[in-house]
Structures are given as structure tokens and as C-alpha cells.
């Protein structure tokens, strides 16, 4: 069976996330900032009784940029038992991949290369397949 992909919009581009890594799509209403945390940690949000750590994926891609304050659409994922919400510009749709994962081209810029582990074809487009854990880790790992 073809791989299911969740298409989101990030830095104006359509980016694919493996649907298997995504728990749900959520809307973030209000954020509790986490002073002192890395720049791509947008804050905390409560979802029912869970506390989500909200990641600004644009900052994760490029430390110098931030999503606008009214960004609300997020993809929820659980990594190592911790629930995260990945804020993106928009969540588009779930589609079926029409090909296999291909290694990402070396010509990607640094930020994209860090979050994108592969490319994949869907709906006739070649999409970057972003890695959820890399988005959560953000640029910190490289700096350290």
C-alpha cells in the first residue's frame, strides 16, 4: 500500500509529513510561553488534559524566522512519550504517495536538509518528506 502523507505548508512550500508519525491535526488557541527555551519552542498549549509542547516549524527550519503570532494550525505528534504540536502555516490534506521515498538532493539549503530526510512524489509533485523528530529537535542540535 502506498504511504500516506500529510501535506502542510511551511515557508510557502508544500511539505509532506509521514501520516504514520502524526496523531492528529489540532488548532492551537492560546500559548503559554516557555521563557529560556530554544527559539523554535513556541510555548505550551493544553489539549484536553495534555500539555503539548508547541514547536514553531518555521523557526525550526530557519532560526531567524518565526511564524506569525496568529498561526494556529498544528500537527500533533508524540515522540518519546511527549506530545508535541508542530505549528505550520497551513495544514492541507492527506494524500497517497505515488512513489517510493528517494534520498533528498544534496542541493537543499541547510535548514531544509536538516528537516528533510527524503523526497517523495504525490499528486504529480515532488515533495520534501520532513522528519518529525528533526522538526522538534530544531536547530539546537547543530549549534550544540
Amino acid at each position: 500500500m502506498a504511504e500516506l502523507l500529510l501535506i502542510v505548508r511551511l515557508a510557502g512550500e508544500r511539505v509532506a509529513l509521514p501520516a504514520a508519525d502524526v496523531e492528529s491535526v489540532v488548532e492551537i488557541e492560546s500559548l503559554t510561553p516557555v521563557p529560556g527555551a530554544a527559539g523554535h519552542v513556541a510555548g505550551l498549549a493544553a489539549l484536553r488534559s495534555r500539555v503539548l509542547t508547541v514547536i514553531d516549524c518555521l523557526a525550526s527550519l530557519d532560526p531567524s524566522r518565526r511564524l506569525p503570532a496568529d498561526a494556529a494550525e498544528a500537527v500533533m505528534a508524540v515522540v518519546d512519550g511527549h506530545p508535541y504540536a508542530l505549528l505550520v502555516e497551513a495544514v492541507e490534506d492527506v494524500v497517497e504517495a505515488t512513489g517510493e521515498r528517494q534520498p533528498a538532493a544534496a542541493s537543499l539549503s541547510a535548514g531544509w536538509r536538516r528537516i528533510g530526510r527524503a523526497t517523495i512524489e504525490a499528486e504529480g509533485d515532488l515533495l520534501l518528506l520532513a522528519d518529525v523528530e528533526a522538526l522538534i529537535a530544531g536547530p539546537v542540535r547543530e549549534a550544540a
Binding site: 503559554t32 516557555v34 521563557p35 529560556g36 527555551a37 505550551l44 500539555v51 518519546d80 511527549h82
Partner: protein, 781 residues
């Protein structure tokens, strides 16, 4: 022991269930080696386990089966159908015995010898054929215990934690509707949820025995390595503690015991020279105190050599020589918790060079606990570990800084004071801020600065939370506002949040918003407060009292949640006591504090069922204990007292900020408890009684006093102001002072009509009450 037997039963039954398939398969192919091994392992395990208990039948049966099977394994015997049947009969009997063990019933078949004989090589094939009928599994009774995977309990716990949070939010919304019926109905749900939470919390509790069980062996091994003789005493194994917490204190406890034997207890010869018994004593004792577990590890060794420790600390650069000079005994001993120190003359491979105690402290503090050490030279060391019962729900204080709410674990909070309160002085020395609180100068950290926020526009409007995160290193944390005390369900924070170094976890407040739980040691570390700045907490001359303000008053919350004030000057100290210390005696609550027994106020007349905090109030001559829930603040006593209409423990109401607080009437309290305050004494009417009469002195006098009189002997100084004179009817002419009444009492039940029988309590009280009550009231403060 019961628990161990239950475990044995459960384990054996589990093995039997797993084995049932194997047995059938083995029956079909008796020389299947893998099956044989399985069954051999079973009987071997049962034999071993039964050896711990006094179970001779199980032991004999399993032993016989083991022998027979091991002969097959070693090839000296072949597995024929006869052997298989005999082994199966033994296994069935074992299953019956284990069942019987659990239900407490006795088995119909008392004799196992036929089964055992059947196992022997020489037994005739027919010897047991009638015995080999399969045991009837339907005869099993349903078991009273079940085994559950721990993950399932964890999942239930996290589910219940979520439920509590959801309840809190729902409660808030329902309260907002103001619908009384809905609120009442929801309160019932709320109570049920609380019960459920308690229940689930308990399922995760384990007896601390599990932690203690390996200790005897460990002590024996360490003694073997060190050549020391140590007797181990264990107490309080039935105390229950959260499973997770149990794992967290396992390593610290191991370290402490190693240290105690390796460094604390002397060699047998040294002990002999010191006049002690050759065998040292190591005591490990657990008890529960409120929502904490106290673990005490004491030895009767040499104690800590304070001088040696200080010298090492100076050599290691942990303290400066001049600072070391000023350390008191307790502070010197606390140096063992510093990294890189060890007092052992020789570094041993057991405890290593100072590895241990600093790690112990770090580990215990990580789970919100405390370690304390008390050492007496030549007599030994007592180490006390205080750890919370559970990790998931903690009492916390919520505070605000920079427009955001944060939570602080209450275990780390020593006190809350307001900068404006007058009892605090804030100063900056060389860029470092200090707060002087009632004579103690503490490092001051502005939470806003730690969080990278703008400084508060009016620093004096802030409040200080005095934090003692590390058991010794008190510091003041300035926050914008103090919100509330709450029980919070703490969730682990994501690594990206922990990386900030300021937070211990996350939680959700009652309004459904996420709240960060501050990490007091982390904040201190981030602010550059190292442990060695302990010198900063120095006693300084008492701060000059703020002029034009009332005397300092302590604002506290009563058990009913009311806010009350008491002048700080009257508070001798604040103490925590266990409920056992409180008793209802002579119609009043009293609390035993060490050697002293004090009247207890503030608790009504119900003996508390959990540890309580006490104010020890002092009028200079006597003391009263006053139970309360928690300290809110210390502030100057506000002016504008609205007096209470009725005399009682509340003198009146004042405004604190925009909230009402009741001011305690100390005068009333001390008077009520027979405090011999001179003003109260003077206000009392005087009753003169005959001197030197045992009845009058021993029996009548207390009655008269309880009626509100002060008693003097007739003819003694002061008797001329008596308003009542009591005399025996046998006494001759008695001339009462002017305006005083004469009450004659008689020893016989019948007698002169103008006298009262001395055991007629009602008539006596009536006579005494004749004019006293209005007089008393008039004179009261």
C-alpha cells in the same frame, strides 16, 4: 511474610498455567528434551521457593520429582510412560497444595508417600494407577489476588490524573454557571473522582520492604569486604510508598549504607578500644509523616570528624578558610554532601573517594526530597531522607511574573514575604541583589530576570518566596504576585523545555491553561548562585523596624480556610506535629511537644487526623499552641480594627489589601487557658476559702477557680477584697469583708438550712454564680 507467600502462590500458579501445555506435549513424547527441561525447571523452582517457607509437603514432592527428572536428564534413567505419569501426578498434587495454601483448606489426601514412591526407579507400574486420575481443575476456587502488569497501573494513573484535570476545569465552568443543583451534583462526581484517585494511587504503592529485602545480604557482603561486624536492624517495612519513588531511592539508600559501614562504623578492634561492643549497629527505619516518607539510617560509629572534613573542604576549595571558621556544627557536617569530599583515611574501593553523598543528595533532591545529617562524635550518624509519597501530584504555590503564571513546588518553600511588608530590606551589592528578611541576609533572584523578562517597574510591589531547594541554601525569589496553593498533577516536560534549565515539569491549572513548574535548584544555578555562596546567608544585625507602621503580624490560614492575623512578637515558633501528639483531655485539646504539654487552639475539639502546623504563642509566661493550615505572609499589622461584637478568639477584623482578616485575641486565648496574666488576674472576683483544710484546698479550690474566681486563703493578703467568703459550718463566727457574701458549706448531706452540702456541686456553683458572671464580663479586655 504473607505477602511473600502470596507471591509464591501467584508465581507457582502462573508457572503451572504456562506448563499445562508442556505437560500434555511431554506425555505424548516423553523423550522430548526441551519439554523435560521445562518441567525440570518448574519443580526445581518450586523446590527452591518452598525452602523459604515452612512447606514440607511441597518441598518433599518437588524434591522427589526433581531427583527423578535429573536422573533422566543425566541419562541414567529413561523417560517412560510410568515416570511421566508419576511426575504428572506430583505436579497435580503440587497444584492442589498451592490452592489449599491460598484458601487455607486442608487436603483430603494427606499422604504423599505413594506419589513419591511412584517416582522411584523400582516402583511397580501398577502401584499408583488409581492415583493418576487427573486433578479436577474446576475444583479451583477463584483467587483473591490478581497480578497486573505495572504498565497497566501506570496507564490508569495517568488516566486518573487526566480525569482530575478535566474535573478541575469542569468544576470551574460549572461554578461559573451558578446553578446550585448542578454544582451539588458535580460535587458528588468530584468526590468520587478524588476517591478513585486515592485508590489508584494506592495500587501503585508498594511496601518499602521491597527496598529493605536486599539489605541484610548487602550488609553481610560489605562487612566481609571491610572486616567489620555490623548488626542490621530494620523497622517500618510496612510503610507504603509509590513504586516509582521506591526505585528512585534505591540507589541513594545503597550509597548511604555503604558509607555508613565503610566510613562510619569502626573496625572491631577500634570499637573495643572505644569501649563499644565489637558489633556495630546499623538501623534503617521508615515511617510516614503526612505526605512524606521519612527514612532514617543511623549507625553507632565514630561520627563525622568535623575538623578533618573542614580541612578537606578547604583543601578542595569547597569553602574558604575564613568561611569555614564561621560554620556551625551542623553546617560543618553538611559538608559531606559537597562533591569531592571524603573523610575516610584511606580511599576504599567500596565508597571510593567521596563518591556517594553528593550523588545521594542530588538524587534525593531531584525527586523533591531532602537529606539531613546529624552526627555526634563517637556516637554515630543519623541520616534522614524525606521524600514525597508520590511523584505525580504535588502541592504547589502558583505565582506570577511578567504576566505569566508559574508553579513552585511547596516542598521547597520556606516562607513568603512581601517586599513592602517592612520586614524586608532589598539592597544591591556589586551587581548582586540581597534581601534581608528579619535579620537574615539572603541572595535575591528576580524571577523576571531569570526568565529574561523586563524588570518589574516597581520592585517594591513584588513578593519574595524564600526557597530552600537544596536543604541548606536558602534564597529569595522575587515574583510579581502570589496566587494560590494548589494540588497539581505534574507532567514531565519535553526535553526542549527541560533544556531551559529552569523548569521541573509542566502542569495544568484549574483554568485549563498550561503552567510551568519552576525548578528551584535550576533557577539558583542559572542565576549563578552556587552552593558555596552559602556564606551569603549570614546573620546580620536586626533590620531597623520600619517606621510609622504597625508591628509585624503573621497572616495565616486556618483549617476552615479563614485568614487570621497574629502579632509576630507573640509567635515563639512554628512547628509541625504528628496527629498522635494531640489528645482530647479534660475537655480540651492538648498537644505534646517534647516534654511540654500545651493547650491547643484553632482546631475546634476534633483531634486532627493528619500532621498539623502549630503556632506556639507566648505571653512571656505561658504558652498556647494554635493549629493552622498554612502561612500566607508577614506584614505590618494594618490599622482600622473593627472590633468583634462577641468576646472570643477573634478580636476583630482588619483589611489586608482588599481582603478581610481576623485578628486573634491573644488576651482572650491566654485568659481562657488560665494564663496567669496579671491583668486577667486582677479582673477576677476573689473568693476567700479557709486555709489548711485539705478538702477546701484540694477539692473545692479548683471548682471555685473554674467558676472564674481567683482564690485566696481567708485572712491572707488579698482576702479583704473577696466578694465571696466560704466557710465551714463548723467554723464559729465569720466576719466577711464589706459587701462580700458568706457561703457556708457542711460535710454532711443533711444539716443547717443556711449551709450547702459540700458535694452539692450545683448548689455550690449557683452560690458562686450569685453575682460573679456580670462582674467577669465587665472586666474582660
Amino acid at each position: 511474610m504473607d505477602e511473600l507467600i502470596n507471591e509464591f502462590i501467584a508465581e507457582t500458579r502462573e508457572m503451572l498455567e504456562a506448563l499445562s501445555g508442556e505437560i500434555v506435549a511431554w506425555e505424548a513424547v516423553p523423550d522430548d528434551r526441551a519439554r523435560l527441561d521445562e518441567i525440570f525447571r518448574f519443580v526445581h523452582t518450586v523446590k527452591g521457593n518452598s525452602g523459604f517457607f515452612d512447606l514440607p509437603r511441597i518441598r518433599a514432592l518437588s524434591h522427589a520429582a526433581e531427583d527423578a527428572l535429573s536422573a533422566v536428564r543425566s541419562g541414567t534413567r529413561s523417560a517412560d510412560a510410568r515416570l511421566v505419569s508419576a511426575v504428572l501426578a506430583v505436579i497435580d498434587r503440587l497444584a492442589e497444595l498451592v490452592e489449599a495454601l491460598e484458601t487455607g483448606e486442608t487436603l483430603a489426601s494427606e499422604d504423599d508417600s505413594a506419589l513419591i514412591d511412584a517416582l522411584s526407579d523400582a516402583a511397580p507400574a501398577a502401584a499408583f494407577e488409581t492415583e493418576a486420575a487427573p486433578a479436577n481443575p474446576a475444583a479451583r476456587t477463584s483467587s483473591r489476588t490478581i497480578r497486573l502488569p505495572v504498565e497497566l497501573l501506570d496507564r490508569m494513573m495517568s488516566g486518573v490524573s487526566d480525569l482530575v484535570l478535566a474535573r478541575n476545569e469542569l468544576a470551574r465552568r460549572i461554578r461559573a454557571t451558578g446553578d446550585a443543583e448542578m454544582i451539588a451534583a458535580f460535587d458528588r462526581v468530584s468526590v468520587t473522582v478524588a476517591d478513585l484517585r486515592d485508590g489508584i494511587t494506592r495500587t501503585r504503592m508498594q511496601r518499602i520492604d521491597h527496598l529493605f529485602a536486599p539489605l541484610p545480604r548487602m550488609v553481610r557482603d560489605i562487612c566481609g569486604q571491610t572486616g567489620k561486624l555490623v548488626g542490621l536492624e530494620i523497622d517500618g517495612g510496612d510503610v507504603e510508598i509509590d513504586r516509582e519513588m521506591l526505585e528512585m531511592i534505591r540507589d541513594p539508600l545503597t550509597h548511604i549504607i555503604r558509607n555508613a559501614i565503610d566510613h562510619g562504623i569502626e573496625s572491631p578492634s577500634a570499637r573495643r578500644r572505644a569501649g563499644k561492643k565489637e558489633t556495630g549497629c546499623l538501623r534503617v527505619c521508615a515511617r510516614q509523616a503526612g505526605n512524606q516518607i521519612l527514612l532514617e539510617i543511623s549507625d553507632d560509629g565514630a561520627g563525622i570528624d568535623g575538623d578533618k572534613l573542614v580541612n578537606r573542604a578547604i583543601a578542595a576549595g569547597v569553602v574558604t578558610a575564613e568561611r569555614a571558621e564561621r560554620l556551625n556544627e551542623a553546617e560543618r557536617h553538611a559538608l559531606v554532601f559537597e562533591a569531592g569530599l571524603s573523610t575516610a583515611a584511606a580511599v576504599t574501593d567500596l565508597s571510593g573517594r567521596g563518591v556517594g553523598m553528593d550523588v545521594v543528595r542530588a538524587n534525593v533532591e531531584r525527586i523533591g526530597g531532602l537529606v539531613e545529617i546529624e552526627s555526634r562524635a563517637g556516637q554515630g550518624v543519623v541520616l534522614t531522607l524525606r521524600v514525597p509519597l508520590t511523584l505525580t501530584i504535588i502541592p504547589a504555590l502558583t505565582v506570577a511574573a511578567g504576566g505569566q503564571v508559574y508553579a513552585i513546588p511547596r516542598s521547597a518553600i520556606e516562607e513568603i514575604v512581601r517586599v513592602k511588608g517592612g520586614s524586608v530590606r532589598v539592597e544591591t551589592v556589586g551587581g548582586a541583589a540581597f534581601a534581608t528578611v528579619r535579620g537574615r541576609r539572603l541572595p535575591l533572584i528576580y524571577l523576571r530576570a531569570s526568565l529574561g523578562r523586563e524588570p518589574h517597574p516597581d520592585p517594591a510591589a513584588q513578593s519574595l518566596v524564600l526557597l530552600r531547594p537544596a536543604g541548606a541554601d536558602l534564597y529569595a525569589l522575587a515574583v510579581d504576585d502570589i496566587h494560590d496553593h494548589e494540588e497539581l498533577v505534574v507532567k514531565p516536560a519535553a526535553p526542549a523545555v527541560i533544556a531551559a534549565g529552569l523548569y521541573a515539569g509542566t502542569t495544568i491549572a484549574d483554568d485549563g491553561k498550561p503552567v510551568l513548574l519552576l525548578d528551584p535548584p535550576g533557577i539558583a544555578a542559572r542565576a549563578g548562585l552556587t552552593l558555596h555562596r552559602r556564606g551569603a546567608e549570614a546573620e546580620v544585625a536586626a533590620a531597623p523596624p520600619a517606621a510609622a507602621q504597625g508591628p509585624a503580624a503573621l497572616l495565616f490560614r486556618t483549617f476552615e480556610g479563614r485568614k487570621r492575623l497574629v502579632p509576630v512578637a507573640a509567635v515563639r515558633r512554628i512547628e509541625d506535629v504528628r496527629p498522635e501528639a494531640v489528645q482530647l483531655s479534660a475537655g480540651r485539646l492538648h498537644v505534646a511537644l517534647g516534654e511540654t504539654l500545651l493547650p491547643l487552639e484553632g482546631c475546634g475539639r476534633a483531634v486532627p487526623d493528619r500532621p498539623i502546623r502549630l503556632l506556639r504563642l507566648n505571653d512571656g509566661r505561658s504558652e498556647i499552641a494554635y493549629g493552622f493550615a498554612d502561612v500566607v505572609d508577614i506584614l505590618p499589622l494594618p490599622a482600622g480594627l473593627v472590633p468583634a461584637t462577641e468576646p472570643g478568639e477573634v478580636r476583630g477584623v482588619v483589611l489586608v489589601g482588599d481582603e478581610q482578616a481576623e485578628l486573634l485575641d491573644l488576651h482572650w486565648l491566654f485568659e481562657r487557658h488560665g494564663g496567669r496574666a496579671s491583668t486577667a488576674e486582677a479582673a477576677k472576683p476573689v473568693c476567700a476559702i479557709p486555709a489548711g483544710d485539705p478538702f477546701m484546698d484540694g477539692i473545692l479550690r479548683p471548682l471555685v477557680e473554674s467558676a472564674g474566681y481567683s482564690v485566696v486563703a481567708s485572712g491572707a493578703p488579698g482576702s479583704e477584697s473577696a466578694s465571696i467568703v466560704i466557710a465551714s459550718d463548723e467554723a464559729g463566727e465569720v466576719e466577711p469583708p464589706e459587701g462580700a457574701r458568706l457561703v457556708r458549706i457542711r460535710a454532711e448531706a443533711e444539716g443547717r438550712s443556711d449551709s450547702i452540702h459540700r458535694y452539692d456541686r450545683e448548689a455550690l456553683l449557683a452560690a458562686l454564680a450569685g453575682e460573679s458572671p456580670p462582674k467577669r464580663r465587665r472586666h474582660r479586655g
